[in-house]
């Protein structure tokens, strides 16, 4: 039996969350005496493919010839074929744009029980139960999967894991399935910039920043922390920042390890998009701002004084660490 993991990549490189998914699969494999088969599309060097072995993959299958357009239907059909060959009954994905799309389609086609957004390892004491987030981070549900085939997508940054020794065998297969999507244009963040959905740290600004010309101090803080930038809805609506940075009920949902909210009041619609963050730091001049109730750490004061001081403090901290 085997556990199949889907590996998403960008520009040939695998991301941390891909290793995390392999690690998660290897944990399930340990308890069920299975192999871990990682499946990826595209063209990667053997070294890159083999690196998945260090996180627990026993085999890596590279599916070539599909171009680099993410095509849910094509990919799902190809993955199902590999799963049959490898006798896979459990499927692991990252909970992200590609992972959720594939997980849902594959689960439907195989009539497999699905848990989307897992935050813990399966509990097998009484059946197969996986904990997931519900109500936009306000609660968790323990979901029991009743089918033999199981599909799980995991929330990135939820699991601790380390690299170890290990090798994977590599198989490369040319695929022939029908392409259903053609790419016309791609706009991705500048190289080196961190995509918001993926960011482990986020610096976010609200109306308290007064205007777009004041974002420099947030950018400097974000640079120092390797953080991505986000904003509240009025900031996006006013055009101070691009709309894709807007988080909340009507914007993006993010789950970074660290969310620093500057000049944001903490309206419930804003919190809906960010309250799954592990640690929340709030900087606001109003000690009564509702955001402080949802925060772990806070500073009451003027953002224009505090933020540059925080940036300096982080520089000092990093210099001391070095």
């Amino acid at each position: 039996m085997s556990i199949l993991v889907y590996i998403d990549h960008q520009d040939g490189a695998f991301k941390k969350k891909a290793f995390e998914a392999v690690h998660y699969a290897s944990k399930i494999a340990e308890n069920s005496d299975s192999n871990v088969v990682a499946v990826t599309f595209g063209n990667h060097s053997d070294d890159t493919l083999n690196s998945l072995g260090q996180y627990g993959a026993t085999k890596v299958v590279q599916l070539e010839g599909a171009g680099d357009v993410f095509d849910t239907k094509l990919y799902a059909n190809e993955i199902i074929q590999i799963a049959e060959k490898e006798n896979a009954n459990t499927f692991i994905f990252s909970f992200d744009t590609q992972g959720t799309s594939l997980a849902g389609m594959i689960a439907a086609k195989l009539k497999a029980g699905l848990v989307s957004g897992a935050v813990d390892y399966p509990d097998t004491n009484d059946g197969f139960v996986v904990k997931k987030t519900v109500f936009s981070g306000k609660a968790f549900a323990h979901v029991k999967i009743n089918t033999d085939k199981k599909v799980i997508s995991i929330v990135p940054n939820s699991f601790q894991f380390e690299k170890s020794e290990g090798n994977a065998t590599i198989e490369k297969i040319n695929i022939q399935g029908d392409v259903t999507i053609e790419s016309l244009e791609k706009n991705t963040v500048e190289k080196g910039e961190i995509p918001l959905a993926d960011a482990e740290r986020v610096v976010s600004g609200g109306r308290g920043m007064k205007g777009p010309e004041n974002w420099g101090i947030l950018e400097e803080l974000a640079d120092e922390l390797d953080a991505a930038l986000a904003c509240s809805r009025p900031v996006g609506d006013a055009g101070w920042r691009p709309h894709h940075e807007h988080v909340g009920q009507t914007g993006g949902t993010i789950r970074p390890n660290l969310y620093i909210a500057v000049g944001i009041s903490g309206a419930i619609q804003h919190l809906a998009g960010v309250n799954s963050s592990k640690t929340i730091v709030v900087i606001n001049q109003d000690s009564e701002a509702p955001f402080f109730k949802a925060a772990d750490y806070g500073i009451v004061g003027d953002a224009f004084e505090i933020v540059p001081k925080l940036t300096e403090a982080i520089k000092r901290f990093k210099a001391n660490q070095a």
Binding site: A76, Q98, H142, I299, I314
Partner: protein, 247 residues
């Protein structure tokens, strides 16, 4: 051409999230329900715009839910849409919802099926792609725009770290998010018209329990914010390192 818009109800964002019956059931007491925001502002409004522009002839709305969903379906009809259906089932499992929708849709010749990118209660981002899998339609997830030209579809979608413009063909299931359309509010004429639009209740073709929720749990309450003064910023940074372990 016919469009099917899948709509689900969700607790108002300000609703208190609580559980009863030994934490096995969501406590509906005092909860007001809204149309899941992605279904309302993005997929439904875009469908209405397409009809107004002459790209679509008929819009059907569909929800899988019990009788207490009728209110949000009427509200949706007040925005637009010609006819609504409710499949009478209290389904939470993705497969069950998607299979009931696919079974309903399979002989109705919808060229386009729209869903929201996620339900704000169960947050699965899965029902749309599952419907596509069952009907063997093409699927685009996390779409931020949609243009139709005959059988040809052009849209933008969110990808890792950015946006991609793509083309595909009908029949198609599309999951919609912000960018897709501008929010609308129903006007008096719409509200009056919605009262006489048909809302048909359909009994489920089968029940499935591929998954079940055995227990809910609330996150440990925040222990309270730790405040630092302007002069203690180094202490904050130290806490982020040693206590929170995030830097």
């Amino acid at each position: 051409m016919k469009i099917l818009v899948c709509i689900t109800q969700a607790p108002d964002t300000t609703a208190k999230i609580d559980f009863t019956n030994n934490d096995t059931e969501f406590n509906q007491q005092g909860v007001t329900y809204i149309i899941n925001p992605y279904d309302e502002w993005y997929s439904l409004v875009r469908a209405i715009e397409l009809k107004e522009a002459g790209n679509a002839q008929e819009i059907h709305l569909l929800t899988v839910g019990e009788a207490n969903s009728d209110a949000i379906i009427r509200k949706a009809l007040a925005l637009g849409g010609d006819k609504a259906f409710r499949i009478n089932a209290a389904a939470k499992d993705t497969y069950e919802i998607a299979e009931l929708i696919a079974d309903f849709a399979k002989d109705k010749d919808y060229s386009l099926i729209l869903t929201g990118k996620e339900s704000i209660d169960y947050n699965n981002s899965s029902v749309g792609t599952a419907i596509a899998g069952l009907l063997d339609y093409n699927f685009i997830g996390y779409a931020t725009s949609l243009e139709l030209e005959g059988e040809k579809v052009t849209c933008k979608r969110e990808i890792e770290g950015g946006e991609e413009k793509i083309s595909t063909s009908l029949p198609l299931v599309l999951s919609c998010q912000k960018g897709m359309a501008e929010a609308r509010i129903p006007n008096m004429r719409g509200i009056m018209a919605a009262r006489t639009k048909p809302l048909e209740v359909v009994e489920p073709s089968a029940i499935y329990n591929l998954t079940e929720i055995v227990k809910y749990e609330k996150p440990a309450p925040k222990t309270g914010v730790k405040l630092f003064t302007e002069d203690q910023i180094d202490d904050l940074v130290a806490a982020l390192h040693t206590e929170a372990k995030v830097i």
